[in-house]
């Protein structure tokens, strides 16, 4: 399992990761979710000992990465798309990594087979497409048959068939009792793949919960509402126990009340309802959670 405690990383004045604490348990897929630039890659790099935390710590089965005896046999990591010399063949790349950890040469062919790159294993990596490069990175992560698998944005560059393959792979790795931690900025994909979520924004922990809870919490409670005269409506919503966010065009996003309660409230105020739409999308829930924390987000 992976344990982060008070993990913090500063780059000059910028706080990339801010006092982050979370657990990643074995036997399930944990999704690491956050907008681009929220600190996911930096966190992954600190787990793998590539970046040094400014303060705090992160351990893998209570060990720092640098103290692992056979790193690739204990942790397999996919860090960003290409951490590979383009002049080398896929096979040479994997073989050199295998040699670093006394992994048998036969295992190189095995993982090339698993990710479907056997046919191009002698081709120079520089000639690979984005998806092939991603598969090679995944092959490297699986090389040591590790108990912990860390994948940073694994579906980047994969086609729909590849995405499905990735999803099945993650689930089966977790099913074997491994610790699987995958980052993504795409909520919908995470909802299909992950069992547990760690959500961050601007380097801070926003939520740590089962995906099921996240979905339940998000899909029922938010509505887009447009009424004839909206001035007094937000106050009434507040009195009724909900919250209303008024947009520039007069529409409101109401949460904390169900559709029936909103309709009844409008009737009691004698206000005509023009629109009452459930915002069921996970992406919206994700945006709602992280909206305030998108550092370079588009202006609303």
């Amino acid at each position: 399992m992976i344990k982060a405690r008070g993990l913090t990383k500063r780059f000059g004045d910028v706080v990339a990761v801010n006092d982050l604490s979370f657990d990643v348990e074995p036997g399930r897929v944990t999704g690491f979710l956050g907008p681009n630039g929220s600190g996911k890659t930096t966190t992954m790099s600190m787990i793998m000992g590539l970046d040094r935390p400014t303060s705090g710590s992160v351990t893998i089965f209570d060990q720092h990465y640098r103290d692992l005896r056979w790193p690739l046999r204990e942790v397999g990591g996919l860090l960003e798309a290409r951490a590979i010399h383009p002049g080398r063949s896929a096979r040479s790349h994997l073989w050199s990594l295998a040699q670093y950890n006394d992994i048998a040469k036969s295992r190189v062919d095995e993982v090339l087979e698993i990710v479907g790159l056997s046919a191009v294993s002698r081709k120079r990596v520089g000639k690979f497409s984005l998806g092939m490069g991603q598969r090679l990175g995944i092959a490297a992560a699986l090389l040591g048959d590790p108990a912990v698998v860390l994948l940073d944005e694994p579906v980047n560059g994969l086609d729909p068939e590849g995405i499905r393959w990735m999803r099945t792979l993650c689930k089966s790795l977790a099913g074997e009792g491994r610790t699987v931690f995958i980052s993504s900025h795409m909520m919908a994909e995470m909802a299909l793949t992950a069992d547990q979520l760690v959500v961050i924004g601007q380097g801070r922990l926003i939520a740590e919960m089962p995906v099921a809870d996240f979905v339940a919490r998000s899909s029922t409670q938010s509505f887009r509402v447009r009424v004839a005269s909206s001035e007094s409506f937000p106050d009434a919503v507040q009195k009724a126990g909900g919250t209303a966010l008024v947009e520039v065009d007069g529409t409101m996003t109401i949460s904390g009340m169900d559709a029936q309660a909103i309709g009844d409230l409008a009737l009691s105020l004698g206000v005509a309802v023009y629109e009452l739409t459930a915002l069921a999308s996970l992406e919206d829930a994700f945006m709602e959670l992280t909206g305030g924390s998108v550092e370079f987000g588009a202006a609303r």
Partner: protein
Amino acid sequence: MTAVSNAPVSFERELPSGRAGLRQALSAEWTKFWSVRSTPWSLFALIVATIGLGALSTNALHGQPFAFPDPTRRILVGFNLGQFAIGVLGVMFISAEYGTGQIRSTLSAMPRRPVVVAAKAIVMGGVSLVVGEILSFVTFFMGSAILAGTQSHVSIGDSGVMRVLVESGIYLALMGLIGLGLATILRNTAGSIATFAGLVLILTLLLSAMPASIINAVSRYLPANIGATVFAVSTPGRLQGTPVFSSQVGLVILALYALVLLCGGCILMIRRDT
């Protein structure tokens, strides 16, 4: 979305005893060294520089009516150029890893930085020493064959020749390690190559503009001047009027440069993010 099983399978596996160390790192770095095209290209350039230039300059002595002083130095003249090829090879061995992101894969397989640097230094130093020795002897035999029967004839048994040949290979290997050490610190290919060239060429030029007292004190420490004493059959303590160390002391100084650069690079690697 699926309910998490209450009794998850636990993933148990046995790891081999011991831990990944220098032995594993050496075999991995050996594979990496030979599996990129820059290696054969640099070695090819080195061979062209040493043997090719040696043949040309030796041939020019042919038919001269006088005996050229120290023909060995003339035969090995290409080593002055060849040191750049070996320097580039040393630089690229690690700077290309930073340039491509490969270093992250390497350090995930071996998070202990000094082990990585030591393995690279042993592979780089070993290969360039063997290649350097072969080239110095091959170049010499070719050159002495060209000069056979002329007044500038030279034989491997002549005084000092053997020493020059052995030390020329060592000199090349140390220059390769200096390239590797520089790039471990600077991480950038272009910057490291430029600095390497600066150490060999520009420093010498700059120094020549200094007052004699400074030249006399400093010039013996320059890699180029150490090289000049190595390639010469005899340098009785002075090179073109300025005092120099014996070639052996010079090589020890060069080895210290390489060691300081490599150790400095290790310390920076441990402290820096990757």
